[in-house]
């Protein structure tokens, strides 16, 4: 291992950005803090994207590692101990300078500080805390800070960081204990969940304290998040969203991020992915995640042991609706908000607008368009004044075909097994006899 101390700031930035980029969390949301006269920085609840990188991901925070040295040897990680590459480390002052100068020029919304484990978890966490303290007190920085809690670090250190940061995260990386054992020797589920629980309790305590004029900083005001790698281990989508649901309900997490596995290391235990990272799968998981957080769905409504993976051709909501046609169509002028939310083509915003607008008059299909409802999808599942837009037969095959297009429906049926069957001459009529010589000849000449 080559440890370089004397690199230029530019080179360090290159290496330590490159090493941090596989962490997908980029959001700067969830925290509202006004600026203070004479200082720099505030935060806005919705977060702000400052740029977009060539892979289409938002750049909001200065996402860097403090150091890319690490005592662990996780197989999926580019910074694993056994990788032969240049290792370097920022100093706290360098991190502060970069953050302040970038923020001043409106390049960034704040700092995302992660790190490899240098020496021990405690030592690393201490370094991170020092850096953040410098930034908050010496430089009086009031912008957004997202910081990693290092698993295994002293609870006191994690607490200290929590009062300096807006958001904290600990990456679960793999949703099952087994996955962790094979790919991340040295880490265990317990070790990761312990600090997560600590932060959750810290946040709860902080909220319960009734201080009317508080001067003390809040504890992790933007909540905590985590990340799960998709496609490095054979876990199903069902296992992933069940894990996510547990984290949302049991640990009060704000966000679970999904990261399509990118094979950065040669290792026989890692899957080869000839088609590139599983981006479509990642996309479906995010869609489902949205349904869990904002649409009142539960994991077992979307998937089950028997149907453990999402459909390639249909988004999870359409897929759910097709399997529950008995609940549709719903009458837009009467259905309650949560029923509307379950209609494909309606989102949180359009459902709210529908509820608002119908108080002042009956809605028709042309009105829905103005309210932002995607009729292309919604039209099969709703009625206005008791009528569908055009005659729709409530059958799975027909609607599925319309939603996905005839060509893609085949692939869909394959992944669905018998759920929605296309009529096939031979299967439906149980003809098993092999064709005769005459049949063969006829099939060539075309004369029957």
């Amino acid at each position: 291992m080559l440890i370089q101390e004397e690199l230029s700031l530019q080179k360090k930035l290159e290496i330590l950005t490159d090493a941090a980029k596989y962490d997908v969390a980029c959001t700067s949301s969830g925290s509202e803090r006004k600026g203070r006269k004479g200082t720099m920085g505030n935060t806005v609840p919705a977060g702000i994207c400052h740029s977009f990188s060539a892979d289409g991901r938002c750049i909001s925070l200065l996402k860097i590692l403090f150091t890319n040295q690490c005592i662990y040897d996780c197989r999926y990680c580019i910074n694993r101990r056994s990788n032969d590459q240049i290792r370097t480390s920022f100093t706290p002052d360098e991190v502060c300078t970069l953050t302040m100068e970038f923020y001043r020029r409106n390049y960034i919304e704040g700092l995302f500080l992660s790190s490899g484990i240098l020496g021990s978890p405690d030592y690393t966490m201490e370094l991170i805390c020092c850096t953040l303290e410098k930034l908050r007190t010496e430089h009086r920085f009031r912008g957004y800070i997202h910081v990693k809690a290092i698993p295994g670090a002293e609870p006191d250190l994690i607490r200290r960081a929590g009062f300096l940061a807006d958001r904290m995260s600990i990456n679960l990386e793999l949703p099952t204990e087994e996955g962790l054992r094979t790919l991340a020797p040295g880490k265990s589920r317990e070790k990761i969940l312990l600090p997560m629980r600590q932060i959750q309790q810290g946040i709860r305590q902080d909220r319960e304290e009734l201080v009317p004029y508080r001067k003390a900083p809040a504890f992790v005001p933007a909540g905590q998040s985590t990340q799960i790698i998709v496609g490095a281990t054979p876990e199903s989508d069902y296992q992933m969203i069940t894990a996510a649901e547990t984290l949302y309900r049991g640990y009060g997490l704000k966000r679970v991020f999904y990261s399509a596995f990118v094979r950065v290391n040669e290792d026989r235990l890692l899957p080869t992915l000839p088609g590139g990272p599983p981006l479509l799968r990642e996309h479906r998981l995010y869609q489902a995640d949205w349904l869990l957080r904002y649409y009142g769905f539960r994991a077992e409504e979307l998937l089950s042991e028997k149907r453990p993976n999402f459909n390639i051709l249909l988004d999870p909501k359409c897929d759910w609706a097709l399997r529950h046609l008995e609940r549709f169509p719903v009458e837009v002028n009467r259905a309650d908000y949560y029923t509307l939310l379950r209609v494909p083509g309606m989102g949180v915003r359009s459902a709210r607008r529908v509820v608002e607008a119908r108080r002042y008059g009956t809605l028709d299909f042309s009105d829905l368009k103005k309210l932002g409802v995607v009729l292309k999808r919604a039209v099969y599942f709703i009625t206005c004044k008791g009528k569908t837009m055009f005659p729709v037969r409530m059958d799975q095959d027909g609607i599925a075909a319309a939603l996905t297009g005839e060509e893609r429906r085949r692939a869909w049926e394959i992944s669905e097994g018998n759920a929605y069957r296309q009529m096939s001459l031979f299967d439906d009529f149980h003809i098993h006899a092999s064709p005769s010589e005459e049949d063969r000849a006829a099939s060539i000449t075309g004369v029957m």
Binding site: A20, A260, R359
Partner: protein
């Protein structure tokens, strides 16, 4: 058809609405336009609207009293839009508003209402994007300078945002298209100016190029992308080309 042609500012539009509303003509026989945004038509009588504070204040008072202060706020927000239809839309919206009363804001299926809200959304969408896309560069004098060229007149919204965020810095933000600038001195208030000298404009435009930290920023933007996931189309949807020429990481 009688067309009231207003200058592109809130007071002029309100004066136009006042003139149209008190003309005694049928509403379908008259409309409002923004000066210079539309080709003149035959068989139209064009009336140049004089900006008049008294008329504007009269409209303001009536709207606030009969409808609500929120409706007036909406009028102001829509007046920032870059759409050539906005003045006429505001006029039609007020006609519907005076018929329906304060509940007009919730009657989303009325075309003028959904049109107004659509324009407002566009204004705030662009302002929100620009709170992230604005780039400042350090000038030799130490001032942070940046330029924008937005479709909607969002400078005032951005100025409010940066006044809170960078209150301890001296900065200048210039809307190149409308030749307006917001100037803030460290710890002081922010002022809006109309027109800056051409030489200063050149300097502001080039501010990002001379800055030492620009290279570090470009390095960061290049390094943070994952090669295996490259997706230029996605990048394009989120960050359209028209913003890029003002952004440090896209300037060579």
């Amino acid at each position: 058809m009688t067309v009231y042609v207003c200058k592109d500012d809130f007071e002029s539009i309100l004066s136009g609405i006042y003139d149209a509303g008190t003309s005694g003509r049928k509403r379908d026989d008259q409309r409002l336009e923004i000066w210079g945004k539309r080709e003149p038509e035959l068989f139209c009588q064009y009336i140049q609207v004089e900006k008049d504070r008294k008329k504007a204040e009269s409209v303001q008072k009536t709207v606030k009293k009969i409808l609500s202060p929120r409706v007036f706020q909406l009028l102001w927000e829509v007046s920032l839009s870059g759409s050539p239809e906005k003045a006429d839309l505001m006029y039609r919206f007020l006609i519907d508003g005076f018929r329906e009363g304060p509940k007009i804001l919730h009657m989303l299926t009325i075309p003028s209402v959904s049109g107004m809200l659509e324009l407002r959304r566009a204004v705030f969408r662009e302002a929100h994007l620009l709170t992230g896309f604005v780039r400042f560069g350090r000038l030799q004098s130490g001032i942070l300078a940046g330029s924008i060229g937005p479709k909607n007149d969002v400078l005032i919204l951005l100025a409010e945002h940066f006044e809170d965020r960078l209150s301890g810095e001296s900065w200048l933000l210039w809307d190149e298209k409308r030749d307006q600038a917001a100037v803030h001195r460290a710890g002081k208030e922010t002022f809006l100016f109309r027109g800056i000298p051409e030489e200063a404009g050149q300097q502001v435009k080039a501010a990002g190029k001379q800055d030492l930290f620009a290279d570090l920023w470009k390095q960061f933007v290049a390094s943070v992308s994952i090669e295996e996931r490259e997706n230029r189309a996605c990048q394009m949807t989120h960050m359209p080309l028209r913003y890029r020429k003002y952004m440090t990481e896209w300037q060579s």
